[in-house]
């Protein structure tokens, strides 16, 4: 225990020989204080949240710049459209004419994206298709179109897939009525 020494005046008292009360111990029992201290430590450790939220950066297409003519500049073989449907379903098709809609789920989409991206990269390299601004090949162009039945989580997961797979050119666009028509109910 920590103790406070009252040094010095011990002899004085004896010399004078006066009747004195028995000397009290100046030790303080610190146990309750220590208990409280550790209780506070525990409380603050438990309430402190260490994981800070993260922010995912999103850039939306500018409607004034990108219109349908710009979209059609993308070659048919480079494009892929992903529609987010109800119940976490994903519908996707390649190209723009005669689309064949296929259904998949979030557990399988990564493999599909990787394969398509590889295929398009090879195609771009083979034919020397480069975007006007960048010097590197861009890979597959993806339009992400969440339908009204999808959840916010689906969109975030899909954007995350883009980052994981390393697809740089994608945009969040509204689904057209024709596309909604194509989806199985």
């Amino acid at each position: 225990m920590a103790e406070l020494q009252s040094g010095g005046d011990g002899h004085k008292g004896k010399k004078r020989g006066g009747v004195r009360a028995k000397k009290m111990s100046t030790r303080i029992d610190m146990t309750p204080m220590v208990d409280l201290g550790f209780l506070l430590v525990t409380f603050f450790i438990l309430t402190t949240t260490m994981s800070k939220p993260k922010a995912m950066q999103v850039v939306m297409p500018d409607k004034k710049v990108i219109d349908s003519t710009q979209m059609s500049k993308i070659r048919e073989s480079e494009a892929m459209t992903i529609l987010l449907g109800s119940n976490d379903r994903i519908f996707y098709y390649y190209g723009q004419s005669e689309p064949k809609v296929e259904v998949t789920y979030f557990t399988k989409i990564r493999k599909i994206l990787i394969e398509k991206n590889k295929e398009v990269l090879a195609l771009q390299q083979q034919n020397g298709w480069k975007p006007k601004t960048a010097t590197e090949y861009n890979g597959v162009y993806i339009g992400i179109k969440p339908t009204d039945e999808s959840k916010y989580e689906n969109l975030v997961n899909m954007l995350d897939e883009m980052k994981i797979v390393g697809i740089k050119s994608y945009a969040i666009i509204d689904a057209t009525p024709e596309e909604l028509e194509m989806l199985p109910k």
Binding site: T48, A55, M56, Q57, D148, Y152, N157
Partner: protein, 201 residues
């Protein structure tokens, strides 16, 4: 020494304990009372949102929209500017009540009544959310909030905090409101998630 002394000197341990207490007291930031609890989806993003100078648009699971600007001084001038947009004048008390609050989901029509309540009453109010009507300009209050917050908040970072289970139409309305006011870059607040380890190539 006739008897072994069993009392240990606890001073260093106590010092340490109180040092920890002090540390945790000083570093803890208590979360302000949010009008709605939101569980964000997770992503592998690693960038941290800024500590100060941000607008957070919350989308509740039931599609209600809440708006938040994080600095008390900014909030005061934000409310003043909102008042100018809707021809309302707010008293000093109302300004202070707004400045110390957190996310707000009250339409401008009910704002004065809400701010005149006592803090306890205010907590009990079920906030209806900010009206977002993307077809009209002044009835899309989120848009007005946004424009005023960008002036009042000295160009804050715009962040969207959506619940995983929010329906997309609500999110789409927010996106559209932002795009209509030329906010094309913004952040989505997500929880942490580890990058998958399997090889991608």
């Amino acid at each position: 020494m006739p008897k072994g002394n069993v009392s240990i000197d606890m001073t260093p341990m106590v010092d340490m304990a109180f040092l920890l207490v002090t540390f945790f007291i000083l570093t803890t930031q208590f979360r302000p009372d949010e009008p709605v609890s939101v569980s964000t989806p997770s992503s592998t993003s690693v960038s941290n949102p800024p500590e100060h100078g941000k607008v957070i648009i919350t989308i509740a699971p039931d599609s209600r929209i809440f708006f938040d600007l994080d600095n008390q001084n900014f909030r005061k001038s934000l409310l003043e500017k909102m008042g100018q947009s809707y021809n309302l004048t707010f008293s000093v008390d109302e300004m202070n009540a707004f400045a110390t609050g957190s996310s707000i989901g009250i339409p401008m029509g009910g704002m004065k009544t809400y701010l005149d309540m006592s803090p306890e009453e205010r907590k009990k109010v079920e906030q209806p959310g900010i009206p977002v009507d993307t077809s009209q300009n002044l009835s899309n209050e989120l848009g007005v909030w946004l424009v005023n917050a960008r002036i009042a908040g000295n160009n804050p970072v715009i962040l969207i905090k959506g619940d995983s289970k929010s329906n997309y139409p609500a999110v789409k309305n927010v996106f559209k409101t932002l795009a209509d006011r030329d906010v094309l870059k913004f952040g989505l607040i997500t929880a942490d998630e580890a990058m998958p380890v399997e090889p991608i190539k």
